[in-house]
């Protein structure tokens, strides 16, 4: 089943078939990216604006690369240089750029629900590139694509997501999609980094790192988002965090055979994940995630553009 909607705001509402459609579509773009001329014309003449109201490097560059390889005119906009600093509302900013005949907005915003809010009041396609603590659908799709490549399947796998679940939109998108796809998801992290009502995800919450790793096929480490802690301290020191919640080569041995380790980046080496794990090509698929990110974003832009034209 194809994806028929104007926007991509999150994965919670998507069916298994819709998620798999994005993954299979991305494979063709991955092949293109590995060819000598990494270019197609499917978005030729279209304008894609990366509207980033929150700092980002890899996600913005990934979207920009994807849009340009599809032949679109990709324009980057960041809030620090924008009229938002002059008091203009988010919607007025978007409407002004829409008046310039923008076809697709890739929106990153610090407030949860911002992508949905814009999508409801804009004729352009909206791709949620991360909204507050809510969702980050393309990151989850690239994670799934990476897992599928390395494990040959998705259904039946056990994934553990470790770290700051509360502040992670990556975790949320992954949890919804993985459960839809028939994967088992476990969660682990300091209780101060766990949402108070984590039960709503329907995932087992582990009590120790050992319990988390044991029986897992996929270990997804999250970045400690110190910039989002609002002044409160979710853990006493990075030393202690590393000791109880960090991933080391020794701990990986508890996992199922041939485990893989994912991380959305940027990495805090030696805190949430040790360098010997990051650099181990037998387990670390972190750079594969980055590579697949471009293919996924090309697939998303291409599919939404087709929906817009049809």
């Amino acid at each position: 089943m194809a994806y028929r909607h104007k926007d991509l705001l999150g994965l919670r509402e998507l069916s298994k078939e819709e998620i798999l459609f994005f993954l299979s579509s991305a494979q063709a773009f991955k092949d293109l990216n590995n060819s000598e001329v990494k270019k197609t014309r499917s978005l030729h003449g279209k304008t894609v604006i990366n509207a980033f109201f929150e700092n980002s490097t890899r996600t913005r560059v990934s979207f920009e690369t994807g849009a340009k390889r599809l032949g679109a005119d990709a324009i980057n906009f960041s809030a620090s240089q924008s009229s938002a600093q002059k008091g203009e509302t988010l919607l007025d900013t978007i409407h002004n750029m829409e008046a310039m005949k923008t076809d697709i907005f890739v929106l990153r915003h610090p407030n949860s629900g911002a992508a949905q809010f814009v999508a409801q009041h804009s004729d352009a396609c909206i791709v949620n590139a991360g909204d507050g603590l809510h969702e980050h659908p393309t990151q989850a799709l690239l994670d799934l694509m990476t897992i599928q490549e390395h494990k040959g399947r998705l259904e039946g796998l056990t994934v553990v997501i470790i770290g700051d679940i509360f502040h992670s939109r990556v975790a949320r998108s992954n949890i919804w999609a993985m459960k839809t796809l028939g994967m088992t998801v476990k969660l682990f992290g300091p209780p101060t980094m766990m949402p108070a009502h984590v039960d709503v995800f329907g995932c087992h919450v582990c009590k120790t790192m050992e319990e988390a790793i044991e029986g897992s096929d996929v270990i997804m480490m999250l970045r400690i988002q110190l910039e989002r802690q609002d002044g409160s301290t979710p853990f006493p020191s990075t030393r202690e965090y590393s000791k109880f919640f960090g991933l080391s080569s020794t701990r990986i041995k508890l996992a199922n055979p041939n485990p893989i380790v994912l991380h959305p980046g940027p990495i805090n080496r030696g805190v949430e994940i040790n360098s010997d794990v990051v650099e181990n090509p037998e387990v670390s698929v972190i750079l594969n995630q980055v590579e697949n990110g471009v293919a996924i974003r090309m697939a998303v832009l291409d599919i939404l553009n087709r929906n817009r034209n049809s």
Binding site: L91, N111, S112, G132, P195, H197, V198, F201
Partner: protein, 425 residues
């Protein structure tokens, strides 16, 4: 001039009777089953004749933010909801923390003459949380109680002083119960829905901790504490405990807290954003039980107008608050239809108990000698609550453009018809 309201069902807190109401001047002079000659005759066949509603918690934004509402539009909104007495909170600009502002608010309401406006003064000067206001002076000017609503009084020492000092004037303190140190950047109830939406939550404990402190201070001081806009089940448990122990404590629940749960926020609709936030379904049920059992004293709207532009933003950036005055009757009647409360209890919650708490001896009852503040309510009338009916300058109600059942069709203030559906007179 003599006015007759005939053929209606008079609902009082202590019972109902099919009878006629005779009004002369500002006062009810007779309740009779006889047909009486009168200058003005109002046929209330099929209608409920209730004492004018007393809303102990409104925000008219006047002075300072008159673009949202002012005393005039607030008065018009009130009578369109059957409300004849309003207590506006002190978080105006400037703050109502002195007798001059209190007098000015009352004078403006009298000029329009639709309602009695009984201002609530601030507890602390400038809402700064340290020095209490000149309560005696403000009571002389017409203030009836004291609250820093919108903000809690963080210092226990200051709250103690406020309770002790107000007791000396036979007045009381209204607690905006919130432990702000526990709700950093929270924008909705902390629960499964906030976890799904990725919105920061305010746990109900931030309210309960403050309720617990203030009830203990009321115990200490023997002052009267009134807990505003209770939203959590545990707050009610604490209030019940305090009352059993003889503490002078009363409380109010807002219609939105017994009508909606936090699941209504799943679409990020900012019109459902309010503080205290919409809580869980269990809390909603607890509010209903409190209303049914008699534990809750008052239904108050916390009518909080905000301009569309302010609400038409990202959820985190929108202000807290919802319109309430014109939806008070349909939402409360929905409880009656659901079997949660009786019509008599509705009158107790919306009129008789507020009158008792506020020592308004001539209000809260349809009886001989009482002030003729009367709401004539059609419980079955179905209508779309749209922009034409809405009297507020603001539109921030999730019920706008929805079909509602039950409305005030005529409102009398001191014997004079001031609202005749759909217009104020």
């Amino acid at each position: 001039m003599k006015t007759l309201i005939k053929n209606g069902t008079i609902i009082n807190a202590d019972g109902r009777i099919n009878a006629n109401v005779v009004i002369e001047g500002e006062t009810i002079v007779e309740i009779t089953t006889e047909e009486v000659q009168a200058d003005v005759v109002i046929d209330a066949t099929g209608m409920l004749v209730m004492p004018g509603l007393i809303d102990m918690h409104v925000h008219f934004r006047d002075p300072g933010q008159e673009y949202k509402d002012d005393v005039i539009s607030g008065s018009e909104t009130a009578v369109a909801g059957g409300v004849t007495t309003c207590l506006p909170m002190a978080n105006t600009t400037p703050i109502n923390d002195n007798a001059s502002i209190t007098r000015a608010m009352i004078a403006k309401a009298k000029e329009r003459g639709l309602i009695d406006l009984l201002p609530i003064g601030a507890v602390t000067q400038g809402f700064k949380g340290d020095r209490i206001v000149e309560m005696g002076d403000m009571i002389e000017a017409g203030a009836v109680a004291f609250s820093d609503d919108g903000l809690p009084v963080s210092s226990s020492t200051v709250m103690r002083a406020a309770l002790e000092y107000s007791r000396g004037f036979n007045s009381f303190v209204i607690s905006h119960s919130e432990d702000c140190s526990l709700c950093r950047h929270g924008v909705m109830n902390e629960g499964p829905t906030s976890t799904i939406l990725g919105l920061k939550g305010m746990p109900s404990e931030k309210e309960e901790i403050a309720v617990a402190r203030d009830m203990l201070l009321a115990k200490l001081t023997k002052g009267h504490i009134h807990i505003a806009h209770v939203s959590s089940a545990w707050s009610l448990k604490l209030i019940e405990l305090a009352r059993k122990e003889g503490v002078s404590i009363t409380c109010e629940v807002a219609p939105h807290h017994f009508s909606f749960s936090d699941e209504h926020l799943l679409t990020y609709d900012t019109y459902f954003k309010m503080s205290p936030p919409l809580r869980s379904k269990c809390d909603v049920e607890a509010m209903k039980e409190g209303l049914r059992s008699g534990l809750v004293d008052v239904i108050a709207t916390d009518h909080a107008p905000h301009h569309t532009d302010e609400k038409f933003v990202e959820f985190d950036k929108a202000p807290f608050g919802i319109l309430g005055l014109q939806t008070l009757v349909p939402l409360t009647l929905a409880l009656v239809k659901e079997g949660v409360i009786t019509l008599e209890r509705m009158v107790e919650l919306t009129s008789a108990n507020p009158a008792k708490i506020l020592h308004l001896d001539n209000k809260g009852k349809i009886a001989k000698g009482m002030l003729a503040d009367i709401a004539i309510i059609d419980p079955e009338m179905t209508y779309v609550y749209d922009e034409k009916l809405n009297k507020s300058k603001s539109k921030n109600s999730p019920l706008l453009n929805q079909t509602l059942t039950g409305a005030a069709v005529k409102t009398l203030k001191s014997g004079r018809v001031v609202f005749d559906f759909p217009n104020c007179l």
